[in-house]
């Protein structure tokens, strides 16, 4: 089964990632989230037409109900073929599964088909200026419009990836005015193209602008677009984060391997491969990548009897790959050396330089390294929780 699937993906990619889609080959990876958005949306529709989106979703919602192992095969072959970063990721991998589990029938019917078809793209509105690691400190307000039952949202989200090229945003907001922390939150799904919303791209370290500030000034979420109940916001927000168990990271590892190959190639060309310390670091990176693969395969296990055994590894995985990748960025630059100075020219160098500039973000987004360690210590090792301070 999986060999046949492997071949099917390979053949399909070879046939379709060409012609007008050829410029997307190996693009939109780390630090390049904002390149060629329109062409990438078309590519999502091409994938959808080939039935390659939402592979793990149930068939009644247009998925293929593929097992984790089969989805891994797809991810690996997609990346091996140089498939571009997925515009549809937030819809397919995050909000889609959340709607499947918590949505009403009406919400499923309205939101899922456009995600599957590559017609609706989503952004994630969690972080705020005063709510980063401390996500419970959300201040964006949602007030109920008694006439319509709709929710009117005021406040600011920040670091919102791809908001400027998305159609919808899911927003964690405070629905009960005097509530604090995780209580009193609401999970809203909102159209981005409306009068009360202003999106300002934020220029990034690498020159591009993949994330944004999103300002809400009485923007409207329809009454029927609340996911869960009022007050369930935190529960749903956390459930959403739980769906990302790492299937896509196996595809990501393919691009890590490609990056390491580029480093090796350049090291052989410019003589860095003869320096003992560089040799050891390249070897160490290689070993870490091999371990990452086995770790991902363990983390993806669906064996219920292995749950206890895997709990700590699940909590360790993000820190492991993010830290590995950040170190790879530094290694790449040390191998390139002074030759790294000109940004123009060799596309390999450009890719590695972007990687170097973006990998520091790997240890920040999706829970910083320090937060990962806190959770691993507290939940995984049963150590005492961090005390909360009194400043706001």
């Amino acid at each position: 089964m999986s060999d046949a699937l492997r071949k099917e993906v390979r053949d399909w990619m070879a046939k379709h990632l060409t012609g007008r889609f050829a410029p997307l080959w190996m693009r939109a990876g780390a630090g390049e989230g904002d390149v060629m958005p329109e062409l990438r949306k078309e590519w999502e529709r091409e994938l959808a037409a080939g039935r390659w989106t939402c592979l793990g979703w149930p068939e009644e919602h247009g998925g293929r109900a593929l097992s984790v192992a089969e989805q891994v095969v797809f991810q690996e072959e997609y990346s091996r073929a140089g498939g571009p970063g997925r515009m549809g990721h937030i819809g397919e991998g995050l909000i889609g599964p959340t709607i499947l589990d918590y949505g009403t029938d009406d919400q499923k019917a309205r939101f899922l088909p456009p995600i599957r078809a590559g017609e609706a793209f989503w952004a994630q509105g969690y972080s705020e200026p005063s709510a980063g690691s401390d996500l419970g400190n959300i201040r964006t307000r949602a007030r109920r419009d008694e006439a319509t039952g709709d929710w009117l949202v005021t406040g600011q989200k920040i670091w919102t990836s791809m908001a400027h090229v998305s159609d919808w945003i899911f927003v964690l907001a405070r629905a009960e005015p005097d509530s604090v922390g995780r209580k009193g939150l609401i999970f809203l799904m909102m159209k981005l193209d409306q009068p009360g919303i202003e999106i300002q791209p934020i220029r990034q370290i690498g020159g591009g602008a993949e994330f944004n500030s999103v300002f809400f000034d009485g923007a409207r979420a329809e009454a029927r677009d609340v996911l869960g109940e009022v007050g369930d916001g935190w529960k749903i927000a956390m459930a959403l984060l739980g769906y990302e168990r790492g299937i896509s990271t196996l595809g990501q590892q393919m691009s890590f391997a490609q990056e390491l190959d580029l480093i090796i190639e350049i090291a052989r060309e410019n003589g860095a491969a003869e320096r003992a310390a560089i040799r050891q670091r390249i070897a160490y990176a290689w070993a870490g990548l091999r371990a990452m693969r086995s770790l991902a395969l363990r983390v993806l296990s669906e064996d219920p009897d292995a749950e206890a055994e895997l709990m700590r590894e699940r909590l360790a995985y993000k820190y492991q790959w993010a830290t590995w990748h950040r170190d790879l960025g530094a290694l790449a630059m040390d191998v390139i050396g002074l030759d790294g100075a000109p940004i123009e020219g060799d596309p390999r160098r450009e890719r590695l330089e972007q990687m170097f500039l973006f990998t520091p973000a790997d240890t920040i987004y999706g829970g910083t390294n320090e937060i990962q360690l806190n959770i691993l210590a507290e939940v995984g090792l049963g150590m005492p929780r961090e005390p909360r301070g009194t400043l706001t």
Binding site: A291, L297, L310
Partner: protein, 374 residues
């Protein structure tokens, strides 16, 4: 391939852990060392004869249990966790795979039977146990009449004192042969003082030692390839011990810091401490996953993967022991507390079969010096 243990493997682990918790305590280890005893004969008896651990990796058609590298990994983690002073690694991970790699032969089959029955502890007189490839044989052999005569010194033989039979690779006619050296054949075994008192090492001197014709185990030479295959399992076994030892010393540290109070709170509540425990846990996850991945496809595992495992597992064990000492504070510098056993074992094991930089260089050479990249 999900790399989780099967119910049978979990059962082996749980029963083994229960057994060792009773029979291989650190009090017992300390008493043995203080008495100058270099290995635990009773424990070995129980492991080999009662539990039959030495039979697991021998194929069924050779009389064994026919299990795989994952079961070996599980058992070696357990014995590593307890620093069990028994010749398990030498017998299970070095000598047995060497005999299996050798192919057919009557003397070899007889020896395997003894291993399976738990009647024989084995050691291997590697030319250099500090080298990743075991080094070149330092003993020479010549034919004399119906038998053989062996000469030379193997400077450091792990578990030589405990072994009923020492496998001796010896140079003969330009090639290498493998001989079985039973006890009291005229060899001299001189115990060495070493850093790690939980793994005995001795110098083996053979001065014209005469062996019967049946002592030669190979049919037509011991090849480098056979040796490599055996050493792969030896490396996996050491890595498993290192991972098991790291787990144990991390667990005893977590227990200690959950109790010890300073500044009106447990030291486990300090974030500096929590983060370092968690970071170690990440290293643990990484090394253990790699070990399980290699064990699951052991027959096709690459030399580079095995080298990488030794690096990660070796780093893990040393860091875990060092952190354990730091987090225990002054008591860790005493003989009475356990961390120092792990500290010494971690350092000594990292040097066994190749130092860290040699493992990395082995990977680097494959990636950087030849043909196509990774």
């Amino acid at each position: 391939m999900h790399l989780t243990l099967t119910p049978d493997q979990r059962m082996i682990r749980d029963e083994g852990a229960r057994f060792l918790a009773e029979r291989a305590s650190s009090e017992k280890l300390r008493a043995l060392i203080e008495a100058g005893t270099r290995w635990d004969r009773d424990l070995w008896q129980a492991i080999a004869a009662e539990l039959g651990w030495c039979a697991i990796a021998v194929p069924e058609d050779e009389g064994g249990l026919g299990m795989g590298a994952t079961e070996v990994l599980v058992l070696m983690e357990l014995s590593g966790a307890r620093l069990a002073p028994v010749p398990l690694w030498s017998t299970l991970c070095l000598a047995t795979p060497l005999l299996l790699a050798l192919g057919a032969g009557k003397a070899r089959a007889r020896l395997l039977e003894r291993i399976v029955a738990g009647e024989a502890a084995l050691a291997v007189a590697l030319g250099d146990p500090g080298a990743a490839d075991g080094g070149a044989a330092t003993i020479t052999a010549r034919a004399e009449g119906e038998g053989w005569v062996l000469d030379g010194i193997a400077a450091r033989v792990i578990d030589a004192e405990a072994a009923d039979v020492i496998l001796v690779p010896a140079v003969i006619d330009g090639g290498t042969a493998l001989f079985a050296l039973e006890r009291d054949m005229g060899q001299e075994i001189a115990p060495l003082e070493t850093l790690d008192a939980t793994r005995p090492v001795a110098r083996l001197t053979l001065d014209g030692v005469a062996l019967p014709g049946s002592a030669r185990l190979d049919a037509d030479g011991l090849t480098a390839d056979q040796m490599t295959r055996a050493l792969d399992m030896a490396h996996l076994g050491l890595a498993a011990e290192q991972i098991g030892a790291a787990r144990a010393v991390m667990d005893l540290t977590l227990d200690y810091i959950a109790e010890r109070v300073q500044f009106g709170r447990t030291i486990a509540s300090f974030q500096a401490i929590k983060h370092r425990c968690a970071a170690l846990e990440v290293d643990m996850a990484e090394a253990r996953a790699l070990a399980l991945g290699i064990a699951a496809e052991f027959d096709t595992a690459s030399a580079e993967d095995i080298a990488g495992l030794r690096v990660l597992a070796g780093d893990l064990a040393r860091k875990a022991a060092r952190e354990a000492i730091q987090m225990h504070g002054g008591v860790a510098i005493t003989w009475e507390y356990d961390p120092h056993f792990y500290f010494k074992r971690a350092q000594a094991t990292a040097a066994l079969l190749g130092p860290r930089d040699a493992h990395l260089e082995r990977i680097a050479a494959a990636l950087l010096d030849q043909g196509d990249a990774a």
